[in-house]
């Protein structure tokens, strides 16, 4: 079983991020479980979500204390995210504009810049969860077509197409990093 824990601020879209990755993973035949943080949902407060992906039925109902992957949407939350637990051989994906030193293998992706460059902004809020969907999908070996399908089922028409394009930039960015 693969466990991912997401950390962000309320309103940044981690629940949707976990949901879309789960939907994509289902299309590969996996069992999934996604769960937002247990709490009162407030815009701007630190929130978390978890995603479990398994080829067998998932019986776990408890919190995710030792995830394989931490996805952190803001560098300010990195220390607290690590403190809340990560597997010994776990790895981290961070939305950040430059590489950082970390005690765990850490990949930085500038999802904020991708969202702004692609004009995926409403009000003054860039939708950083969209490029991150692609980035995490690559990291957990979910083929991009599956994520694309999931995105186009969630958002119909042009919105779905645009979101899929931007998610693909996230996917390809991670692919480049891997090379």
């Amino acid at each position: 079983m693969l466990e991912i824990r997401f950390h962000g601020y309320g309103g940044e879209g981690i629940v949707t991020l976990a949901e879309m990755l789960a939907s994509a993973a289902i299309k590969t035949g996996s069992q999934v479980q996604s769960l937002p943080s247990f709490g009162v949902e407030r815009r701007g407060a630190p929130v978390k979500a978890l995603l479990r992906i398994s080829d067998q039925e998932i019986y776990i109902r408890s919190e995710c204390r030792q995830p394989d992957i931490l996805v952190v949407l803001n560098q300010k939350l990195l220390a607290s995210a690590i403190e809340q637990g990560i597997k010994e051989n776990g790895r981290i994906i961070l939305n950040h504009h430059q590489p950082l030193d970390c005690s765990y293998p850490l990949t930085c992706i500038d999802a904020t810049k991708i969202a702004i460059d692609e004009n995926l902004v409403i009000g003054r809020v860039p939708f950083i969860n969209i490029p991150l969907m692609g980035a995490v999908a690559f990291e957990i070996d979910v083929p991009f077509e599956k994520l694309e399908q999931a995105i186009c089922e969630k958002w119909t028409g042009n919105t779905g197409m645009r979101n899929a394009e931007v998610a693909n930039i996230g996917y390809k960015t991670m692919q480049e990093r891997r090379k």
């Binding site: 949901e19 789960a22 939907s23 289902i26 069992q31 999934v32 479980q33 996604s34 769960l35 937002p36 247990f38 709490g39 009162v40 998932i58 019986y59 776990i60 109902r61 408890s62 919190e63 204390r65």
Partner: protein, 375 residues
């Protein structure tokens, strides 16, 4: 078979839609809120052919369901915690009037102090209202159990409360397989009504009843709630034959055949407890899991049949039985096994109160520490 990937609350709404419910009256309360929102949306869009009555509180929600059932409608409501407590008086009315209602209670701890998270003190405090109580440990079971609840309620004419843990199940997204509608329709064929209110032929119901007749009504309710166990078993078995799904009937068991040590629990803990059993067995402890699915009626005979003489039983309660020596499930189990001649050791651990995290290691630890089993 349609695959649904959605939150527990939305799975409830889908099950209610599939059950062809005629009337829903409900008032939102965390963590049940999105059940109400989703049913309101489905009825508004016409996707669900049902009257949705937004009421001003839970007392009215239950009263409206009682009235709907009185004219022979299939009615539904959902609530949680304080909302369920606020309904209390009308819960007695629903069971006393023998109306076949179904309610989902999203388990949440009770005030005070304020909290939003799961435990079972809300539903267990309604233990003696005459409602049947079923508990679920997965979203698939929630879907299946709502359909089975109508099957049961309409045959025994006693209302059924389907319980699911707040957030842990209500806000969790998992895959649920929905049987085809024609199979569900076959399973949930409408039963002939008993007495129903009819303005064309006015009559009175449940009027002032003296000591000559009142005891008879209560005795009948007492016997019928106890004997509802047969219909719960039947519902699970017919449902399995039609859909292939099985979540247990009064109880469900896991690796109990050769076990001498048992975990007995209820609600979402019963899912992860399977992993505790696997862990304990790896350590050489012959452990089995009994999930209590029906708390009312209490499955005394079914539990006793699984437990061998000399068994060690760890009851994991997500509630406090205030003024007793432990949790409420623990007290019930102890009382139900009291007349067994051979000794059964029963221990209790209270955990998961107010949504505190419970994982399989903690549940396994409860067993090893109770009997000083070296790991």
């Amino acid at each position: 078979m349609k695959k649904l990937f959605d939150t527990g609350c939305h799975v409830v709404a889908q099950a209610v839609k599939c059950a062809d419910v005629d009337m829903v009256a409900a008032y939102p309360i965390t963590p049940q809120t999105s059940v109400v929102e989703e049913i309101a949306a489905l009825t508004e869009s016409g996707e669900m052919n049902c009257r949705f009555l937004p009421v001003e509180g839970e007392h009215s929600a239950m009263a409206a369901c009682v009235a709907a059932a009185a004219v022979g409608a299939r009615a539904f409501t959902a609530t949680s915690s304080q909302g369920l407590l606020y309904m209390h008086e009308v819960l007695h009315m629903a069971s006393g009037c023998r109306f076949p209602l179904v309610m989902v209670n999203v388990n949440r701890a009770v005030f005070a102090p304020w909290t939003l998270w799961a435990d079972h003190s809300d539903s267990l405090s309604q233990r003696d209202t005459g409602w049947l109580q079923l508990y679920c440990c997965s979203l698939q079971e929630v879907f299946n159990t709502i359909l089975q609840a109508y099957y049961i309620a309409e045959r025994v004419r006693i209302p059924v409360m389907v319980n699911m843990d707040g957030f842990i199940l209500s806000h969790c997204r998992m895959i649920v397989n929905m049987p085809d509608q024609e199979i569900i329709d076959k399973f949930l064929q409408r039963q002939p009504n008993g007495w129903i209110a009819n303005p064309a032929n006015p009559s009175a119901y449940a009027c002032v009843t003296g000591a000559d007749l009142y005891p008879g009504f209560r005795e009948e309710l007492f016997n019928d709630t106890k004997n509802a166990d047969k219909i719960i078993v039947e519902a699970a078995s017919v449902y399995r034959d039609l859909t292939g799904f099985w979540d247990g009937d009064l109880i469900d068991t896991y690796r109990c055949d050769d076990a001498d040590t048992f975990i007995v629990t209820i609600g979402s803990m019963a899912a992860e407890a399977r992993l505790s059993i696997d862990l304990l067995r790896e350590q050489g402890v012959k452990t089995g899991l009994i999930k209590i699915r029906s708390f009312r009626p209490f499955p005394a005979a079914a539990l006793s049949a699984v437990l061998p003489d000399g068994a060690r039983v760890m009851v994991l309660d997500r509630n406090y039985g205030l003024g007793t020596e432990g949790g409420i499930v623990f007290s019930e189990l102890k009382a139900s096994l009291f007349n067994r001649a051979a000794k059964i050791e029963i221990a209790n651990q209270i955990m998961g109160i107010g949504g505190s995290d419970v994982n399989y290691q903690m549940m396994a630890d409860a067993v090893t520490s109770a009997w000083d089993i070296r790991r």
